[in-house]
Symmetry: C2
Subunit: 400 residues, 2 copies
């Protein structure tokens, strides 16, 4: 059988077998509706409550501040629209970054069509927003600042702690209708997160990025922050999200969150070792590579590399034929023919943006996986470059 | 161990073991993101496509007309808000019934706060809307008719086929901005459904009512019907619903839909036999019971009975102590102290509405389960009535 190496953990992760074991009973014998009064319901309710505490723990929140949802996209939708719709009488201005995930970006775009104004902060060539830009963008009618904690394509960490301090200070100064949301979908389980330190009011999470199933996520909502409901019908989630609780999914999310918390340090160490070795070897083995995004302030598992002269899509397919799974951007952007908005925000040319590949490692990635990729990748890049007229031309110029 | 009998299949169902077997690989080794380009993604994509065909088959729809969502509540939200927001320039009037599930009812209520007008059709004492009332309610600015296919508390079937024919006729007459949505969450898997016969434009489904897990559902959207997106971000579901596809949940929904289709006749026969025997025995064993809703035009698995003189909540708890799970209304209404809006729409007094219990059977309900309930229930009702001053008083009057 052909070797298969999955280096696309930023797109999604397999469910940890311990998480599968935790959720299975809630599909079969403990199948009650958590909103039912009887013992089957109580059993489900207790499991949901436990999961809520587990998810809260991973970001140092209170259990009641966690709203369970269908995923990170719904979390981002509820956060942005929920705050904006609730506060439109107070102002109609949003500050965001130029590199948000589409679930924030497209919601902000939609708000613009509803008479909101959106300021998109630049990220310069390192892929990081600057506090001074946030400060300069603030207007009396600013209601929401939404900046991701870690970018999904290049992994760069944003200065949420500094922005959080600025928001608290601004509120203390009398601008009380200002909230800070951060999309932490990529960050949870890959870095230490403490909502008190961050000073955010809302924080989005997704189960399937941390070894829980797809279809479950959560939004941290600081006590006292009121949101306009989006999914309406029923009293679930303390009136913040209607619909029967996805009990098995929630239990899985809780179990995965607990594992992420207890194993965090070990996972980070493991990822950094593999990722840094991978990058060092790529530099050694392949000429003309560009690492995209700040190499210091970023998640430990991700490497975004432009291979000058090639098309990322072509390389992706070549690697896939060799059993290696990577991506060119976010999976959510698949089907788009536009070069990545994130890479363009870094100032990359369209050509270099199209030449990019995202390698994202996971807790189950092995040294042998990396060895295999390091064996295949240089050959693949070389064969594509050999067929690339632009690269050949540039090479010949360089020689002359 | 105490016997446990679950008669709350309208609240939720256990996942069929064959469905668990179908979904498990998509949690573990086939864990790809269906939007990823590589082979892991393709594998997931193929599974989602297969499930889409399976779900389409159960309602005689085309696969492309199925949008996968996080559940029935999201389906109802997307249908109602999606049609209304897309067409608000054409009119701002909705026709609905007085007995919709909260996921339709509360969304209609919310539309009223956005300058929409809502006509709520009566259901008379049989719990069924009348076509003549739909006809009378139609206005030039009517955009949406949303009436459920089968009620969740009393199981009554609504005349969607007649309403569908009326809608087609109305559209043919020039009122083109009119769409018909039906909430079929309770009906799928419990009756034969054909969207062509029904003539509806949108139809809501929920996985966990038909032995798939909670957290997955679908909306049938007839080709050509345009909806304003609700969950935004990403190109998934042909731009109709952003967010990573819940692959394992969707596969489970598909597998459950296929089982529901192939086993439908057998399930209905089984349910009718058990339910009808249960009701006949209840009448024989317990005086002063009222069956709520039309007893002919209703789902085969459900029985809603008011036990005069008692509080449904008290009976529910008594039965629960004996291991029997039933409900007083929908699980989604739990936590509410209001008597059921459905039972009040039938014209029941608050007292009789509060005296109601919903028994809902499932494919795994056995004769022994029913026997056990028939053993416990009469005693439970009697003991509660013995403590009920109003019931005792009425009894003594009757004797005099």
């Amino acid at each position: 059988m052909k070797r298969r190496v999955y280096l696309d953990y930023s797109s999604t992760t397999p469910v940890d077998e311990r998480v599968v074991a935790a959720m299975l009973p809630f599909l079969t014998n403990k199948f009650g509706n958590a909103s039912s009064v009887h013992s089957f319901g109580q059993e489900a309710r207790a499991a949901v409550d436990r999961a809520r505490a587990q998810v809260a723990d991973v970001i140092n929140a209170r259990p009641n501040d966690i709203v369970f949802l269908s995923g990170g996209t719904e979390a981002n939708n509820l956060a942005v629209r929920g705050v904006c719709e609730m506060n439109e009488a107070r102002g109609r201005h949003i500050i965001t970054s130029a590199i948000e995930h589409s679930a924030v970006r497209e919601v902000c775009d939609a708000m613009e069509r509803h008479a909101w104004t959106v300021t998109r902060l630049p990220v310069y060539n390192n892929g990081i927003v600057r506090l001074e830009d946030v400060r300069a963008a603030l207007r009396p009618d600013t209601v929401l600042i939404t900046v991701m904690l870690a970018n999904n394509e290049i992994g760069t960490l944003q200065p949420i702690e500094e922005i959080g301090a600025f928001v608290r200070e601004t509120r203390a100064g009398g601008h009380r209708h200002l909230w800070l949301h951060t999309d932490a979908v990529q960050a949870v389980g890959r870095m230490n997160i403490d909502v008190e330190n961050l000073g955010c009011d809302l924080l989005s999470m997704s189960g399937h990025k941390l070894y829980a199933p797809k279809g479950v996520g959560g939004l941290y909502v600081r006590r006292g922050v009121r949101l306009a409901r989006q999914n309406i019908g029923g009293h679930q989630e303390r009136e913040r999200r209607g619909g029967t609780e996805s009990v098995a999914g929630i239990v899985a999310f809780g179990a995965a969150a607990e594992l992420a918390r207890t194993e965090l340090d070990a996972r980070i160490t493991h990822l950094l070792l593999l990722r840094n070795r991978f990058e060092a070897e790529v530099v050694r083995l392949i000429p003309d590579v560009i690492f995209n995004g700040d190499r210091k302030h970023r998640l430990p598992h991700l490497s975004n590399i432009s291979f000058d002269g090639i098309e990322g899509d072509g390389l992706l397919i070549n690697l896939d034929l060799n059993g290696i799974a990577v991506s060119t951007g976010s999976a959510c952007a698949s089907g788009s023919i536009e070069p990545s908005h994130v890479l363009r925000a870094l100032g990359l040319t369209d050509q270099l943006a199209r030449a990019a590949i995202r390698f994202s490692l996971g807790k189950d990635t092995t040294d042998e996986d990396v060895d295999y990729v390091l064996e295949v990748l240089p050959r693949a890049v070389k064969s594509l470059r050999d067929m690339s007229p632009t690269y050949q031309k540039r090479l010949s110029h360089a020689v002359i």
